[in-house]
């Protein structure tokens, strides 16, 4: 058996785990590890410019590939800088393993240089964490971390590693475990058959059904099964912000996103439904509006791998705990059995009436059945996303930051495949888009990767333009520039009589073209609608260059539909500045 130091064991374990990239930033407490990576490790390391970006890049990689993202940061500020990215991954259930350096064991608790209690700081935002006490424990702990991060409801796991645990002059026998069993951790492997049978019956008896699917369908690799189920029954489907791409966005049965900025027909269908099949979704407050008024006549079937997601806000009539893939497989075969027995289900006449009603809603206010945004001399943000959709054939990986541009992208880019839409849904982290795009582009160098952002968000991690230069990640940055923190401004317009408290900075914005050129990239400014498609095509034609499209849009536009809150239900929406349901 081989003898390795702690640092070398970490390098080797990451290789043995099949890790493709380490995103990180060196510092005192992790220098032994970095030396081991330098001397002998096949896993390439991506040096970011700020630890927050390391976590977002690893997160983007994980969302696009389904494999855990790996982060390596030093103690103290390195670890605390990573916290926002860990919380982002936690809220969206993204598998991630974060290795953070720690001061030497004998210094812990003495306020040593660059010491911080990372286990304590990260506790509420991790699925689990480990403090390594002995070098020889490293292989097992690393195996456990990957196992926990990527199984059940995925999430980030932190491993805090004191410097002396990685010292090069002490070596140990190294063996990486093939698998790991933990008595205190055993996520559900399949759903309860009795419950699934009940669900199949209820679903087939429905007259106004809606399938409401979320990020769990994408994380659980169940998009195909969900699509199969919906098509078999001819039931309408709506996706959450995190679930976009879980069902083909350009399909007739797709009602669009639901929730605060969801499609009119999606929110109306939910509100009037008599049976909601929730799959890998969690009835988040941005979906439900006022919970007590949520979908008054609907029976709820809720499938989720995490029991704590079920009946947390909306009580499920038929709860099913299990991985969505296995539960949907069983549900499909139960439905086959029932429909064979009784050719009369589902009630086709009722279903036709339901679709007629939905089509009526869709014709009246759907985003693709007419122009739903204002006439303007300026470029409208929606037109930018439509142009991006056309030029990329609807098949790009699109990352986003947070704000109006994020909602426009979610509404207007019709994602047909899972894992194409990469955004911070739960935590709503500005600064996510660019580093996430780096992670995606490294995973899929031959695919188009676009980062839809705004001039507010992009400045939160703009230093990563330098990382893009170093690792040659030619992503396209679509900057929807309105010279305001747009979503803040929208709320200030709607609720604060247009008092734009600290949401403007027009006079102090950088010249983005010069800025990206300084990093060695290409910048293109677009001010006229006539130039938009050309500039977009031009940008994507430059395959091996990062192109920053600085697109001046109408600053007065709002995102609609928008739920009316407080005290509104799913069906209460603003449809434009002066039109409401």
């Amino acid at each position: 058996m081989e003898l390795l130091s702690g640092g070398e064991m970490i390098a080797r374990a990451l290789e043995d785990e099949g890790v493709e990239y380490i995103f990180g930033y060196p510092g005192g407490a992790v220098l032994h590890i970095y030396d081991a990576l330098f001397k002998d490790c096949k896993v390439p390391h991506v040096l970011v410019r700020h630890e927050q970006a390391a976590t977002h890049a690893a997160d983007g990689y994980a969302r696009a590939t389904g494999k855990p993202g790996v982060v390596l940061v030093t103690s103290g500020p390195g670890a605390t800088n990573a916290v926002t990215g860990i919380a982002t991954a936690y809220m969206d259930s993204i598998p991630m393993v974060v290795l953070s350096g720690q001061v030497q064991s004998h210094l812990i608790g003495e306020d040593a240089f660059q010491e911080t209690d990372m286990i304590g700081i990260s506790r509420p935002i991790v699925k689990h964490s480990f403090m390594v006490k002995r070098s020889e424990d490293l292989p097992l702990i690393i195996k456990k971390a990957f196992h926990i991060a990527s199984s059940g409801r995925p999430g980030p796991v932190v491993i805090d590693i004191p410097k002396d645990v990685t010292r090069p002059d002490e070596t140990y026998e190294y063996r990486y475990p093939k698998s790991v069993k933990m008595r205190s951790y055993s996520p559900a492997q399949r759903g309860h058959t009795g419950q699934i049978k009940k669900a199949a019956k209820l679903l087939l008896a429905a007259k106004r059904p809606v399938i409401y699917s979320g990020g769990g369908v994408i994380l659980g690799e169940a998009s195909e099964l969900l699509t199969q189920l919906a098509r078999k029954l001819n039931y309408p489907v709506t996706n959450t912000l995190m679930g976009l791409g879980g069902y083909p966005g350009s399909d007739r049965q797709f009602l669009g996103m639901l929730g605060m900025h969801g499609f009119y027909e999606a929110n109306m269908a939910m509100h009037h439904s008599d049976c909601i099949l929730a799959v890998g979704a969690r009835f988040d407050d941005r979906v439900t509006n006022t919970v007590s008024k949520f979908c008054p006549s609907a029976k709820v079937i809720h499938i989720d791998v995490d029991p704590a997601s079920i009946s947390k806000t909306v009580i499920a009539d038929i709860p099913i705990v299990g991985p969505v893939q296995s539960v949907l497989t069983e549900l499909l075969s139960q439905i086959d059995l029932l429909t064979e027995k009784d050719a009369g289900v589902p009630d086709q006449a009722a279903l036709k009436r339901w679709w007629d009603q939905i089509d009526e809603w869709r014709d009246a206010h759907g985003l693709f059945t007419g122009r739903r945004y204002a006439e303007s001399d300026m470029i409208m943000p929606q037109q930018v996303i439509e142009s991006l959709y056309r030029v990329t054939g609807g098949d790009a990986y699109v990352t986003s930051d947070v704000g109006q541009h994020q909602m426009f992208a979610a509404q207007y880019y019709r994602f047909d495949k899972p894992r194409r839409w990469i955004n911070s849904g739960g935590l709503g982290t500005m600064g996510f888009g660019l580093p996430a795009a780096i992670g995606v582009k490294l995973a899929f160098p031959d695919q188009e990767v676009a980062c839809v952002t705004g001039e507010g968000s992009i400045q939160m991690n703009i230093q990563e333009l330098s990382t893009c230069t170093q690792y040659n990640t030619p992503v396209k940055i679509i900057n929807l520039r309105n010279n305001y923190l747009g979503m803040v401004k929208q709320w200030q317009d709607m609720q604060y009589e247009g008092r734009y408290a600290m949401s403007t900075y027009e006079d102090s914005l950088p010249d983005f073209i010069k800025l990206v050129e300084a990093y060695g990239h290409v910048g293109i400014q677009v001010k006229k609608l006539a130039d938009l498609d050309g500039a977009m095509e031009n940008a994507f034609a430059m395959k091996d260059r990062l192109v920053f499209l600085d697109i001046f849009i109408d600053p007065m536009e709002h995102v609609y539909p928008m739920h009316i809150a407080p005290n509104g239900s799913m069906k209460d929406m603003w449809l434009s500045k002066n039109e409401r349901t």
């Binding site: 964490s129 008595r183 029991p307």
Partner: protein
């Protein structure tokens, strides 16, 4: 309603802070907390009491079960159970009070475990209610210090919380 939630968890550093942290993180209150190793040194038994409605209790137990360090969990209040809280109480015992404190202690089947010229230290074991009643009964005396262990509990009959 008042609940007694008891769990077995890995006897590892950080396990307790995860359980306690969950309460503040999710906005629950802990009334009492008691934790110690079991006959198996790799396992700790933690018992806590809290007052919450049924829905919140369901959510709380799910969240606790999700913690990787929690091996097994039971809500003891769901079935017949025995609960015990231990109290050490130091009271001024001079003059007439000296005799009165002794009498009340006997009535409650407590024990005086330390005697000084001016103080008694009394040990009392029972349900939280009984301990509360004793403190109330001592209202006439001068209470110097009260220490309670928090509730420990176990199910009646064959039912066990073990691996």
């Amino acid at each position: 309603m008042r609940r007694i939630i008891s769990m077995l968890m890995e006897n590892e550093p950080g396990a307790l802070s995860r359980v306690v942290g969950l309460f503040s993180q999710r906005g629950y209150n802990i009334d009492t907390l008691n934790v110690a190793p079991t006959d198996d040194p790799t396992l700790s038994r933690l018992t806590l009491t809290t007052v919450e409605n049924d829905l919140r209790i369901e959510q709380l137990t799910k969240q606790l079960n999700k913690l990787v360090d929690v091996v097994k969990l039971a809500d003891l209040t769901e079935g017949a159970h025995i609960e015990r809280d231990l109290m050490l109480i130091k009271v001024r015992a001079t003059g007439v009070a000296r005799e009165e404190v002794k009498r009340t202690t006997d009535i409650f089947r407590g024990q005086i475990v330390d005697v000084g010229p001016t103080v008694y230290t009394i040990q009392l074991v029972g349900t939280s209610d009984k301990l509360d009643s004793f403190v109330a009964a001592m209202a006439g005396a001068e209470i110097l210090e009260v220490v309670r262990s928090g509730v420990a509990g176990i199910s009646r009959g064959e039912k066990v919380l073990s691996l």
